[in-house]
């Protein structure tokens, strides 16, 4: 059956040759290679749950009287966007589960991208020939953050509305064109004529996801074309890939992983409340809540805004709000430009033009690892700085002290991190067999009082991968070897 249908398709499309190569494709095994898979599968969850949400959500600022299942809101005037978002949580069966799964998977999506990116960075997987894929990946991270913010803004609740207000003010801070951009995007002065919700909706459900899908296809296509990198090890060279074949081993593992990622998302969605918009209430531009933090991937932008001194430039009849422009426009611009340019910055520095298919261990590249640790620490510090008020309250310290701590620590601690990391890497580079599995030594004392040391017996796993790697066999002899007519000869039944 499979044979004949394959022949039918192959007559028309010629898939057999490429298809078999694809099924034989080798994926190297390492736990860190599945971080990107988490991103991929949480994107699948995002698309699935997003379609569900879009069946009920109405992107409209039009004011209606609420008559839904959430009693404290009964009879109040709310926007249709807010009413339908609350309705998804109270009136649509399984709606709350889907809404929270969508929100959780957005957080997981961006989190796994960040960790995946760190893996690629620290192991040097971005080097030639994979610079394109690094750029595609960084672009997806950028689009993911943008789409996260857009989606977060759609329910028109008090917290998300405040976020839109801040975004408007950041746009306004751009010299020369800022007020024009704000007016164009919002259809007038803030809060605009109600057009912003449908516009954000269109961007959130169509334009940005379409871009991400396109880039995702390119990301995976390049991965297939250029083949996966692998760590150094027995039988592994720059010119081969050792691991499991696409079919069936990798396919089984990755399908299972899709299920696991989805499972974790839905369990979080059911047991860990996220963004309870009915508690925040409808957005009104003159109302505000306290101790409100954005989603985690926006936190680093909020932190820079908090610790920035109030340096506004006023002169020649114009105002440049540097206290907004520098932390919220220039700073993220610099960060993302460093991300995009890193493969080229590094290859210029190392003058390394060779192909690299074997991965570095982070300790073997102290400077790169140091730079990565510095960036992670910078991100972490400004992320922490986005909670100055919560920290001051929790530790009962003056807000002023917390702020000044971060103003000093944000530039200082990452630099210290760089030097400490470089030092640790250099120390580790000198140590023999570090990271290898240890075999204990057994100390014996003989009857005469003499001590001797004997290595303990090998345990299972100590000497794994004893087999030489072979190409994936095309044919498998189902007949036991002793009955076969000869090695490598296949009997074809027709």
């Amino acid at each position: 059956m499979i044979d004949s249908s394959l022949r039918w398709v192959d007559d028309r499309l010629g898939i057999a040759k490429g298809g078999r190569t694809f099924l034989d494709k080798i994926f190297p095994d390492h736990w860190s290679f599945m971080l990107g898979e988490i991103a991929l599968y949480s994107f699948v969850v995002l698309l699935g749950t997003g379609v569900f949400l879009s069946l009920y959500y109405i992107p409209s600022a039009h004011e209606i009287v609420y008559h839904g299942g959430y009693l404290p809101l009964q009879g109040q005037k709310v926007s249709e966007a807010y009413a339908t978002s609350v309705g998804l949580s109270f009136d649509v069966k399984s709606g709350l589960l889907m809404r929270q799964a969508h929100h959780w998977s957005a957080d997981i999506f961006l989190g796994s991208i960040a960790v995946h990116m760190a893996r690629v960075f620290f192991t040097g997987a971005f080097r030639k020939p994979r610079e394109f894929n690094w750029i595609v990946g960084v672009t997806m991270l950028l689009l993911g953050i943008v789409n996260g913010f857009l989606g977060y803004s759609l329910p028109d609740d008090l917290v998300s509305g405040t976020g839109i207000r801040i975004a408007y003010s950041i746009i306004e801070s751009v010299p020369l064109v800022g007020s024009y951009l704000g007016f164009f995007l919002f259809g007038g002065n803030y809060p605009g004529n109600g057009i912003i919700i449908p516009r954000f909706y269109l961007l959130h459900v169509l334009i940005v996801p379409a871009l991400i899908v396109g880039l995702l296809a390119a990301h995976l296509g390049l991965l297939v074309k250029q083949k996966h990198t692998q760590f150094k090890g027995r039988g592994k060279t720059e010119h081969n890939v050792v691991g499991s074949p696409m079919f069936p081993t990798f396919m089984a593992k990755t399908t299972g992983f899709l299920f696991m990622t989805t499972a974790v998302t839905f369990i979080l969605a059911g047991f860990a409340q996220i963004n309870p918009i009915w508690q925040f209430g409808q957005y009104e531009p003159f109302q505000i809540s306290y101790a409100v933090q954005p989603d985690w991937y926006m936190g680093w932008l909020d932190g820079t805004l908090r610790i920035m001194p109030s340096w506004e430039f006023v002169g020649w009849g114009h105002t440049i709000p540097l206290e907004v422009l520098l932390p919220a426009v220039i700073f993220p611009g610099i960060i993302f430009n460093i991300f995009f340019a890193w493969p080229f910055i590094e290859s210029r520095h190392t003058r390394d033009l060779a192909y690299h298919n074997l991965l570095d261990r982070p300790r073997d590249r102290p400077k790169r690892t140091g730079a990565g640790a510095m960036m992670l620490m910078l991100m972490f510090m400004i992320f922490a700085a986005s909670s100055t008020d919560v920290m001051a309250n929790f530790f009962q310290i003056r807000l002023n002290s917390v702020l000044w701590f971060f103003r000093i620590a944000v530039p200082l601690i990452p630099v210290i991190t760089y030097f400490v990391t470089v030092k640790i890497c250099e120390e580790m580079g000198g140590a023999e067999g570090i990271g290898k599995r240890k075999r204990p030594n057994v100390v014996h004392r003989s009857a005469s009082g003499e001590f001797s040391t004997v290595p303990a017996e090998a345990r299972p796993g100590d000497g794994h991968e004893e087999l030489e790697a072979v190409p994936v066999p095309t044919f498998i002899d189902m007949v036991p070897a002793d009955l076969a007519t000869g090695p490598g000869i296949r009997r074809v039944m027709r």
Binding site: I26, I166, N189, K253, V264, F286, F475, I476
Partner: protein, 321 residues
């Protein structure tokens, strides 16, 4: 998808007993039992979700059954793949995917020489096509960008708040009302009380939001309430002062008032304004004081504005002088 290689595919055949085809598990029977158990749990989880959905709308039960089902089924499939399928290791050669020098030269030539021929023979056509397509690219941006919204008003005289970043609806003798439209009277607040107010007819408007604070209990017959701020000592009335509620940092409502220290705090980025000294920012990223609204009381004890704001409210922007 395929890696084109010049040589024919290597069609190897191995015996079923080849060590590479053996499972990774030491005890395949046990591994199979575990995988099977996980898959059975997964199946039961999905059945449980189906039942839960029909008999209740309990989010936690739905998540436990659906998520638990997927977790167990996923674990089963992974165990199957990891422990029971051919352990390998298998290897695949990498083929260089860059082209030969000759192929590269051929492509460069196709672009440079063939293209050069086209351009050199018909220079006018090439120029005209470039001109036309550039013009199209520019004018097509007009509707794409310019139609999105109105331009901010260039004139400071525009009073429509939707059209101008300088405008508010506060004018001379504007009546202070609450968000619900209730008229605000002198007797309404005690010392330390705050209220968000709007000019009558513009309740809830974003640029008009103003925070009214009572700093002192001063009656109509007491000596007049004098502020310390130079040039606006008479902008308060009977212990009341009013400031724009829109933060000069990023436009959040400055909604927290600390009664004891007479400070307004912005909950977004913790800018702190000293109300008694004219809402000068004392701390945090806000660069400018909150603009003040001059107040007065009419014959009926209703609070009114002496005039509108004397400067643009809210965060900074390029056109702000």
């Amino acid at each position: 998808m395929s890696d084109e290689s010049p040589k024919a595919p290597s069609l190897t055949s191995v015996s079923l007993e080849d060590p590479h085809l053996q499972p990774y598990a030491k005890h395949p029977g046990r591994a199979e039992a575990l995988a099977a158990a996980a898959m059975v749990i997964g199946f039961l989880g999905f059945i449980g979700f189906g039942i839960t959905y029909w008999i209740s709308d309990q989010t936690q039960w739905q998540a436990a059954t659906l998520g638990g089902g997927m977790l167990a089924l996923g674990a089963g499939v992974i165990a199957w793949g990891k422990y029971l399928m051919a352990q390998g290791p298998f290897v695949e050669e990498r083929h260089e995917f860059h082209s030969t020098e000759a192929e590269r030269d051929a492509m460069t030539a196709a672009i440079v020489e063939r293209g050069g021929m086209v351009v050199q023979r018909r220079k006018v056509l090439g120029g005209l096509f470039a001109l036309g397509s550039t013009a199209m690219g520019v004018v097509i941006a007009f509707p794409l960008i310019r139609s999105l919204g109105p331009k901010p008003a260039a004139s400071r005289q525009v009073t429509n708040t939707d059209a101008s970043l300088f405008a508010t609806n506060w004018k001379k003798n504007s009546q202070l009302v609450t968000a619900e439209g209730r008229i605000v009277k002198v007797a309404d607040l005690d010392v330390g009380g705050v209220l968000t107010v709007f000019p009558k007819g513009h309740e809830g408007s974003s640029p008009d939001q103003t925070i009214l604070i009572r700093l002192a209990q001063i009656g109509p017959n007491d000596p007049p309430f004098q502020l310390e701020s130079p040039g606006r000592t008479d902008w308060g009335v009977q212990g009341y002062v009013a400031y724009s509620k829109m933060c000069t940092h990023l436009g959040c409502p400055v909604g927290l008032y600390q009664k004891l220290t007479q400070q307004l705090v912005c909950p977004c980025h913790q800018s702190i304004f000293n109300v008694a000294s004219g809402c000068v920012p004392e701390f945090g990223p806000a660069p400018r004081p909150l603009p003040q609204l001059p107040l007065k009381v009419d014959a009926f004890g209703n609070l009114q504005s002496q005039s509108g704001y004397h400067q643009a409210i809210g965060p900074g922007f390029w056109e702000r002088p």
